[in-house]
C-alpha cells in the first residue's frame, strides 16, 4: 500500500526573501534608469522623496492622510480578492461614495441638525453609495454573466461622467461650474482634524477599524472561510454547499462600502467639497497594494504606508527638481510589476524543483 504524504516542494525561507529583495532592487534600478533618461540626478531625487515624506511632522501626518483612504480601499479589496474577484470597479465605488456623502451634506447643511450627526450620516451615505455601485457590478456578474472586470470598468466610466455632470450641472458653484469642484461646506461640517495638521483622528480610526474588521472576518469567521473557498475553487465550494452567488455579492458589497467610506472621508475630511479627481486613483493604487502585499491583511498595512509615503514624498519634486510628481507612480508601478515577475519566476523555479524531486522518487 503506497499512501505517502507527498512532500511539498518548498524552497527555503532565504530563497523567498532573495526573490522579494531582488524584485525591489530591480524596481529601484528601473526607476533610476527612468530618472537618468529624464536627465535628473537619481540620488538627489530619492533624497528629495525621503525629505518630502518625512521632513517634518506635518508631512509625516500627510502620509497618514493619504494612507487612510488607501487602507480603506485595500481592506475592501482584500475581501473581493479572497473571493477570487477582480473588483476593478473599486474606483467608481469611491466616487459614488463621495457623491452620496456630498449629496447628503448638501441636503442637510441648511438644517439645524447637529453637525456630528450630519457627518455620521454623510459617512454612512458614502458607504451606502459605494455598496450600491458595487452591487451593480455584482448583479451584472451573477445574473448577466458580465465579468466583474468589464462591468467594473464600465461603471467606472459612468461614475466619472456622473461626477463631472454634477459638478458642472446641478451642483455647480453659484455663477459658473469649474474643475475646482462644488461650493465648499461650512467649516462646522468638516471632519475635525488634529491641531496644526490635516489629519483627522476619526478618519484614522475608521481606517484602523476597517483593517481590524477585515482581519477578523478573513481569519476567524465562517464568512471569511467561505469567501476563501469560493476564491480558490468556486465549483467545489458550490458542490460542498456554499451559496456562492450570495457570498460573491456580499464580498462586493463589503468592498464597495469601504471604498465608499474612503470617498466620503475625502469629501468630509480632506477636500470639504466634491472635486472631479476625488478618488485620486486610490482605487487602482489599492489593487496594487493588495497584490504587492500578496493579499495578506498584515502585509498590506506597511505596503499601503510605503505607497502613501511615495505619493506625499514626490509632491515637491516638481518644485525642487522640475520633475513631475508622477515619479511615485513610476516607482509603484515598477515595484508591482517586478514583484509579480518574481512571483512568476519563483513559481517556475518551484515547479522545476518539484519535478526534479518527482524524478528522484
Amino acid at each position: 500500500m503506497k499512501e505517502v504524504l507527498l512532500p511539498r516542494a518548498r524552497p527555503s525561507r532565504w530563497v523567498e526573501f532573495g526573490f522579494q529583495g531582488l524584485s525591489i532592487l530591480m524596481a529601484l534600478l528601473f526607476t533610476t534608469l527612468v530618472l537618468v533618461i529624464a536627465g535628473a540626478p537619481p540620488i538627489e531625487a530619492y533624497r528629495q522623496v525621503l525629505e518630502g515624506a518625512f521632513g517634518s511632522l506635518k508631512r509625516a501626518a500627510d502620509i497618514l492622510v493619504a494612507w487612510v483612504p488607501l487602507m480603506l480601499v485595500t481592506s475592501g479589496l482584500l475581501l473581493t480578492f479572497t473571493a477570487g474577484l477582480w473588483n476593478i470597479g473599486v474606483e467608481g465605488q469611491i466616487v459614488l461614495g463621495a457623491i452620496a456623502a456630498t449629496g447628503l451634506m448638501r441636503a442637510l447643511q441648511e438644517t439645524s441638525l447637529p453637525p456630528p450627526l450630519i457627518l455620521i450620516l454623510a459617512l454612512a451615505a458614502g458607504m451606502a453609495g459605494g455598496a450600491a455601485w458595487a452591487s451593480l457590478a455584482g448583479l451584472l456578474k451573477i445574473y448577466g454573466g458580465v465579468h466583474e472586470i468589464f462591468g467594473g470598468l464600465g461603471l467606472n466610466f459612468v461614475a466619472t461622467t456622473m461626477i463631472l455632470w454634477l459638478i458642472f450641472g446641478p451642483w455647480k458653484r453659484p455663477g459658473i461650474g469649474s474643475m475646482s469642484g462644488t461650493e465648499p461646506f461650512p467649516e462646522r461640517l468638516w471632519l475635525p482634524v488634529l491641531p496644526g495638521l490635516r489629519l483627522s483622528p476619526w478618519a484614522l480610526l475608521l481606517a484602523l477599524l476597517s483593517i481590524a474588521l477585515v482581519y477578523v472576518l478573513l481569519r476567524n469567521t465562517y464568512f471569511g472561510l467561505r469567501l476563501k473557498a469560493i476564491g480558490k475553487n468556486i465549483r467545489a465550494a458550490h458542490l460542498l454547499g456554499v451559496p456562492t452567488a450570495r457570498y460573491l455579492f456580499l464580498a462586493l458589497l463589503g468592498c464597495g462600502a469601504m471604498a465608499g467610506l474612503a470617498g466620503a472621508i475625502q469629501v468630509t475630511a480632506v477636500y470639504h467639497r466634491l472635486i472631479p479627481p476625488i478618488s485620486s486613483g486610490y482605487g487602482y493604487l489599492g489593487l496594487l497594494v493588495a497584490m504587492l502585499a500578496n493579499y495578506r491583511v498584515s502585509w498590506s498595512i506597511p505596503v499601503a504606508f510605503f505607497f502613501a509615503a511615495l505619493n506625499i514624498g514626490s509632491i515637491q519634486l516638481p518644485i525642487t527638481l522640475k520633475l513631475d510628481s508622477t515619479l511615485s507612480g513610476v516607482m509603484q508601478g515598477a515595484l508591482v510589476l517586478f514583484v509579480l515577475l518574481m512571483q512568476g519566476a519563483r513559481a517556475r523555479w518551484r515547479s522545476k524543483l518539484a519535478a526534479e524531486q518527482g524524478d528522484d522518487a
Binding site: M1, K2, E3, V4, L5, L6, R8, N220, T221, Y222, F223, L225, R226, K228, A229, K232, N233, R235, A236, A237, H238, L239, L240, G241, V242, P243, G358
Partner: protein, 521 residues
C-alpha cells in the same frame, strides 16, 4: 522528396492559391511517404496517478490501427504523447525509425502527426474558413481566397458538405470533425490520430468517416483509431492494440474474437464473493419520464425507483450518458422533461441547494477540480461542511474535530495539511469524510478510481455501511468487477441509450462487457 512539397518552409512567406491546391492534392492523394510509428516503453504519471506504464506501440505505415480500452486505460494519454500535447516521463518515439521528441503539438504537426481530439478543439465563434486556416504556416498575411478553394476542393474530394462561411458553433459535432480532418490533411499530416471519433456523430456521418479513413489508409496515410467500441474495431481496423489500466494488455489481428478482446479490456473474470441481498426499503429516489441532454447526448424517458439500502451501479464508457444522468439526479443539470422526487418530495427543476437539503449528496470524480479546494487545509474543509458555530470559528475545537475525522476516515494527513498534498486515496477518503449526514441519496462518480485494492475495499466498506444505515446509493464506475461485486442492480449506458436496471445475479462480467461495448442489447 515529398517532404519539401508537403511542408513549405515558413520563409516562403505567402503561398499562392494555386500552389495551395496543388499542395493539398499532393497531400491527400499522391503522398508517396507513408510513415511508420513506433512508441517504445512509454511511462507517464500525473502526480501520484500512473497513467501509462511501459507501453509500447508499433503502427505500420498505411494501415488503420485500433487502440482499444475502457476509460482511464490510457489511450488518450498515449495519443497525446504521440502528437506532442504531452511529454512522456520516459520512453522514446520513432518515426520511420528516426527518434523524435516533440515540445508542442505544432512540432508534432510539422513532423506530420495530427490528432483529432474527442472534444473538437476549434474556435466556435469563428467561421469554417477561419478555423480551416488556423495554424497554417503561410507567413503573416492570410490568403483567404486560396484557402477557400483548397477547402472546397478537399471537401468535394471526400464528399463533405461544408459551407466555408458558416459559423463553427452552428455545425454538428460530425461536421466539426470533418472540418478538423480537412484542416489536418491540408496541413499535410501523414499520421492521423482519431480519439473516439464516433461519439456524438450521426450514422451517415459515421459511414462517411469510415469510408474516408479507409481511403486515406489506401493512399498511404497511417491512421490510429482510438475507441472503446468493439464493432468499430471489427469493421475498420487492420490491427488492434488493447490497453488496460495504463498497461499493454495485448494485440490482435482479424478475424477478431470479441471474447478475447473483452477479456483484454476488462481482465479475466474473478470468482464472485457471496453477496447477501438487501431487503428493499422505502423508495428514496423516484424518477419519471426524465429527459435530459447536453450538446452531444440525450437521454430519453428514463424512469427509475431506487429504494433505501439499495446500491445501483451505472456502467458504461465515459460519456455514454451516465454522468449526465447522475448530475441530473444531483440537481446539477436541469432536466428538460419529467420529474425527480426524493423521499416523496418533488425536486424537479429545483436548485442544487434544495437537493442538498433533501439529503442528496454528490461526490464528483475529479477530486481536485470539483470535490476539494486546493489551498485549503483539512480542518478548513471540515469546517466548511460541519460548522461548529454560526459566525465565529473556534479553531482550537475545529482542529480537535478534524483530528477525530482524520482518524475515523483513516486519512494520512494532519489537520493543517492542504488537500493537494494528499495522495489520491487520502483525497478520496477526505471526500467521503465530507459527505454530510443525514444522507438519503448518495451519488458517487468513480469513488475508487486510481485507488489500490486495499483503499478501494475500504471505500466500499464505508459506502455499504451508509447503505445499511438506510441511504440509497448510485455509483458510476468503469471497474465492472467492482460493480458486480457491490451493487444490487446495474444500469448500462451506451451512447445515450439506457438499459433497464438489471439484478446483479443475472449478470456476468462477460455480458456486462458486451453491453458496455454496445452488443447484446
Amino acid at each position: 522528396m515529398g517532404n519539401a512539397l508537403l511542408f513549405p518552409s515558413p520563409s516562403n512567406g505567402r503561398v499562392a492559391g494555386d500552389e495551395i491546391i496543388r499542395f493539398a492534392c499532393i497531400a491527400t492523394s499522391l503522398d508517396p511517404v507513408a510513415m511508420k510509428v513506433e512508441m517504445r516503453h512509454i511511462y507517464k504519471s500525473f502526480g501520484p496517478v500512473r497513467a501509462l506504464q511501459d507501453v509500447s506501440l508499433t503502427v505500420e505505415a498505411g494501415t488503420i490501427h485500433g487502440l482499444l480500452g475502457e476509460n482511464g486505460a490510457g489511450k488518450t494519454t498515449l495519443m497525446k504523447i504521440l502528437s506532442g500535447y504531452l511529454r512522456p516521463d520516459r520512453g522514446e518515439i520513432f518515426l520511420d525509425g528516426k527518434p523524435v521528441r516533440f515540445a508542442s503539438p505544432a512540432e508534432g504537426l510539422r513532423h506530420g502527426i495530427g490528432m483529432l481530439h474527442q472534444d473538437p478543439m476549434d474556435f466556435p465563434a469563428m467561421s469554417v474558413l477561419d478555423n480551416f486556416m488556423m495554424g497554417h504556416e503561410g507567413g503573416f498575411w492570410l490568403d483567404r481566397r486560396g484557402a477557400r478553394r483548397a477547402l472546397q476542393e478537399l471537401a468535394s474530394q471526400f464528399g463533405f458538405d461544408l459551407d466555408p462561411d458558416a459559423r463553427v458553433d452552428r455545425l454538428t459535432v460530425g461536421e466539426r470533425q470533418q472540418l478538423e480532418l480537412l484542416r489536418l490533411l491540408w496541413r499535410g499530416v501523414r499520421v492521423l490520430i482519431l480519439d473516439e471519433p464516433t461519439t456524438g456523430i450521426s450514422a451517415p456521418q459515421k459511414v462517411r468517416l469510415f469510408d474516408t479513413l479507409r481511403r486515406l489508409a489506401g493512399e498511404g496515410k497511417t491512421v490510429i483509431f482510438v475507441t472503446h467500441k468493439l464493432e468499430e474495431v471489427e469493421e475498420l481496423c487492420h490491427r488492434v492494440t488493447v490497453l488496460r489500466q495504463g498497461r499493454l494488455a495485448g494485440e490482435a489481428t482479424p478475424p477478431y474474437s470479441p471474447q478475447r478482446l473483452i477479456e483484454m479490456m476488462f481482465g479475466r473474470p474473478l470468482p464472485m464473493p457471496e453477496r447477501q441481498p438487501v431487503p428493499p426499503g422505502e423508495p428514496v429516489l423516484e424518477i419519471r419520464n426524465l429527459v435530459v441532454g447536453d450538446h452531444r447526448l440525450r437521454l430519453s424517458r428514463v424512469s427509475l425507483t431506487v429504494r433505501s439500502g439499495e446500491v445501483i451501479g451505472l456502467a458504461g464508457m465515459e460519456g455514454s450518458g451516465q454522468q449526465l444522468f447522475m448530475r441530473a439526479c444531483a440537481g446539477l443539470v436541469r432536466p428538460w422533461e419529467g420529474s425527480i422526487r426524493v423521499r416523496g418530495k418533488d425536486l424537479t427543476g429545483k436548485p442544487y441547494h434544495a437537493f442538498l437539503e433533501a439529503g442528496v449528496l454528490f461526490v464528483p470524480a475529479n477530486r481536485l477540480e470539483e470535490g476539494l479546494i486546493p489551498g485549503l487545509t483539512l480542518t478548513e474543509h471540515f469546517q466548511l461542511v460541519y460548522p461548529n458555530g454560526r459566525y465565529l470559528i473556534d479553531w482550537e475545537q475545529a482542529r480537535v474535530e478534524a483530528q477525530r475525522r482524520i482518524r475515523d476516515f483513516n486519512i494520512r494527513g494532519k489537520p493543517e495539511t492542504v488537500v493537494e498534498a494528499l495522495s489520491g486515496g487520502n483525497q478520496q477518503r477526505t471526500l467521503l469524510a465530507l459527505i454530510r449526514t443525514p444522507a438519503h441519496l448518495l451519488l458517487l462518480e468513480h469513488p475508487t478510481r486510481g485507488l489500490d485494492v486495499e483503499s478501494s475495499m475500504w471505500v466500499w466498506r464505508r459506502l455499504k455501511e451508509r447503505a445499511q444505515e438506510g441511504a440509497a446509493l448510485m455509483v458510476i464506475s468503469s471497474d465492472l468487477q467492482e460493480l458486480l461485486q457491490y451493487c444490487d442492480r446495474i444500469i448500462v449506458f451506451f451512447s445515450g441509450r439506457i438499459s433497464e436496471p438489471i439484478a446483479t445475479e443475472e449478470l456476468t462480467l462477460d455480458r456486462l462487457g458486451h453491453m458496455i461495448a454496445g452488443r447484446g442489447w
